[in-house]
């Protein structure tokens, strides 16, 4: 070992020529030791031949990315910057003679504070429901079920959008609906829940349920079942296996799933409108629509939008830390 190390250093000091000399003596003509001058010149020429800027890999890559970046800048970044600017102007004055003011934000954190709280509350509770109900679902899906593809296919229904979900649930909650008889049998007065917080929360939780299952499932799939067996053979009880093995190892998926559900639910719009009471209908997205497109108070709508965007981005940023680059980052 020592000898070899010494040898390595020797080779860097130029012991090479010497060794090549030895080769030359053995192989005569077929072995060259250094480049003849003309070849070196040729190579120089090849290297310096006018290389157009566009032919560098970096430039070509940027060129291929250009349309995507253009679309993102035009339809996402510039509008968001505009939104911020508009949020600093009074009502719809931005479109005529911009009057700059901070009133919109004072308003948002004053009169609309309850709307913010309502939005965060609904999103938070719905996401907690998803977590509590989704963890066992993900565990069963990953560990015990052979018809996993079928379950996944069924799970796409909520993802067609909250609109059909809310629309369909509306009918489910109707006493005259298809399950009306079932509810009567169970002694549940289902009509009571029609325009209620419970209905809104349920529809929100169902809509984001697949996101939770997806994140926790991905984390659990990476936990070797042998670890659970090992824990069991070491005498751990079921709840100890959960708290000491599964929970710590799927922590990243839990956080990512929760934040993803929370982020989606912050933008909730149609469920309160179709299934909720006026209290639930104070959520930020709905207020933005009402203030902006019904009452033309663009300044206030923009300020609400900026607030919602900041909240959504913060949540996304944290969740991407935990989801191990689910989106290719």
């Amino acid at each position: 070992m020592v000898n070899r190390l010494r040898f390595r250093r020797a080779s860097r000091r130029g012991g090479l020529t010497h060794r090549h000399g030895a080769l030359l003596s053995t192989y005569g003509e077929t072995q060259m030791t250094h480049a003849p001058a003309e070849i070196a010149i040729e190579y120089e020429i090849a290297e310096r031949s006018p290389r157009r800027w566009l032919s560098t890999p970096r430039a070509r890559g940027m060129l291929l990315l250009a349309p995507a970046i253009l679309v993102a800048v035009l339809f996402s970044i510039i509008p968001l910057i505009y939104l911020f600017q508009v949020s600093l102007t009074r009502e719809s004055s931005f479109f005529f003679n911009a009057e700059y003011t901070a009133d919109n934000y004072l308003n948002v954190f004053g009169r609309y504070r309850s709307a913010i709280i309502e939005t965060v509350y609904l999103a938070g509770v719905a996401s907690i429901l998803d977590l509590v109900l989704g963890y066992p679902f993900a565990y069963i899906l990953i560990r015990k079920i052979r018809y996993r593809e079928f379950v996944r296919t069924m799970m796409t229904f909520p993802l067609f959008g909250p609109l059909y979900l809310a629309f369909g649930l509306f009918y489910v909650f109707l006493p005259t609906g298809p399950l009306g008889g079932v509810f009567v049998l169970l002694g549940v007065d289902i009509a009571k829940y029609l325009f209620s917080q419970a209905a809104v929360l349920f529809s929100m939780a169902v809509f984001t349920f697949p996101f939770m299952v997806m994140n926790i499932g991905a984390a659990l799939a990476n936990v070797d079942p042998l670890l659970e067996e090992a824990a069991r053979t070491l005498g751990a009880k079921p709840w100890q296996i959960f708290t000491r093995v599964l929970f710590p190892l799927s922590w990243g998926g839990i956080v990512a799933g929760f934040l993803m559900c929370f982020g989606w639910n912050l933008g909730v719009f149609v469920q309160p409108q179709l299934l909720g009471s006026p209290k639930e209908q104070s959520v930020i997205s709905l207020q933005m629509f009402l203030k902006g497109l019904v009452q033309f108070n663009y300044g206030l709508a923009a300020a609400l939008g900026v607030l919602l965007m900041v909240m959504a981005f913060a949540v996304t940023w944290v969740s991407l830390r935990f989801s191990r680059g689910a989106l290719g980052a």
Binding site: R6, S25, M32, I39, Y43
Partner: protein
């Protein structure tokens, strides 16, 4: 058909050099192997010949034409990959036809050529299978057919057998050699497996840390290693540091020149590396299978004959492997033949050894200090 010259080729990634000052002149029809441990730069060198990596310096020539500025798809080469790299969405026949199709070869000609190639690798009946339906060996044979279909100037092999199991490796390496002999194409073969290199090459380049350690025939590399690295990397070896005591007068025309030395307290006579004088520090190498266990009755007091105590005996079937302690220097000894059986009860006993074919490699004095 094609002489391949690599003139002072180097490849640097930032401050680290993957290949430095690589020079080789490969004759038309020659089968050359680049042998070395992983990370020695052999694959990078091959990929530079293939045009998949741009050299940082130097010139690559095919028949005298510089190829540096020629993109890979215009070099007309055949490259065999470690994984067979068959296109999974195309049938065997379409895989073999690929190179012809992209060059716009007429359909009839393509079909004839594909059939001929598949026949050559004995897979004529598999034309319409998908690659995934073939065994590992069959896949690699299709890859060979695909690479030969376009009649390339140079064949390049990037460890094509390393993903296969041992039996397949042994039979396929002779198939590769036979195909190369039959098509008389220049071939460059990269491997870390010395038995592969020894079996098929006309010439072997042993590489280490981006440089050529030694180039030569199998026998040169095996019997006359010129550096410590080659002596250690190729085959098993005993390396014993020592000092030259004198040059032996040449015995006659064609006789090897010898030197006397003392290494590990043992007086030996070894091959003269050609550049040592008395007093120089050297390392003496002697292969375990070149150490003969002598019957009792020999005189210990002669060059290359030493007495040692057997520390360990491992019976390996056709051979017996001994570890012998000679005045504190452990020597590995491999003994074959019937006499191996007489050694089995020699543990902790003294035996007499004759060291044959001792090679001598100079130890760099600048570093020894």
């Amino acid at each position: 058909m094609t002489r391949v010259q690599l003139v002072d080729i180097s490849k640097r990634y930032g401050p680290t050099a993957a290949v430095e000052h690589f020079n080789a002149d490969i004759a038309d029809g020659e089968f050359v192997t680049l042998l070395g441990p992983s990370g020695c730069g052999k694959t990078t060198t091959l990929r530079m010949v293939a045009g998949l990596v741009d050299p940082s310096g130097g010139v690559i020539r095919f028949d005298g034409q510089p190829m540096n500025a020629v993109p890979s798809h215009k070099r007309n080469i055949g490259l065999a990959f470690q994984s067979h790299a068959l296109f999974p969405h195309l049938t065997v026949a379409r895989n073999v036809a690929f190179g012809l199709e992209v060059k716009g070869t007429p359909k009839a000609e393509t079909e004839r050529r594909v059939a001929e190639m598949l026949e050559m690798v004995e897979l004529g009946d598999y034309a319409n299978r998908m690659p995934a339906q073939l065994s590992g060996g069959q896949q690699q044979r299709v890859a060979l057919a695909r690479m030969l279909a376009t009649d390339p100037r140079v064949l390049l092999f990037d460890e094509p057998l390393s993903a296969l199991d041992r039996n397949l490796r042994d039979s396929l390496k002779y198939s590769i050699l036979e195909l190369q002999r039959r098509t008389r194409k220049t071939a460059i073969y990269v491997t870390h497996d010395q038995s592969e290199a020894f079996a098929i090459s006309d010439r072997i380049f042993v590489m280490n840390e981006g440089r050529i350690e030694q180039a030569g025939s199998q026998l040169d590399i095996y019997l006359r290693p010129q550096t410590e690295f080659v002596a250690n990397f190729v085959g098993d070896n005993n390396g014993i540091p020592g000092e030259v005591t004198g040059l032996v007068a040449p015995g006659g025309e064609g006789e090897p020149r010898l030197v006397d030395l003392v290494a590990g307290g043992i007086r030996m006579r070894g091959l003269d590396p050609g550049n040592v004088r008395p007093g120089d520090k050297v390392v003496a190498f002697v292969r375990p299978e070149n150490i003969e266990v002598l019957a009792n009755g020999h005189v210990a007091d002669a060059p290359n004959i030493v007495r040692g105590r057997v520390d360990q005996i491992v019976f390996e079937g056709p051979t017996v492997r001994l570890t012998v302690d000679v005045d504190g220097t452990p020597l590995k000894v491999i003994s074959g033949g019937l006499e191996r059986l007489t050694l089995l009860d020699k543990e902790q006993r003294e035996i007499l050894l004759r060291l044959q074919d001792v090679t001598v490699v100079p130890d760099d004095p600048a570093v020894a200090a």
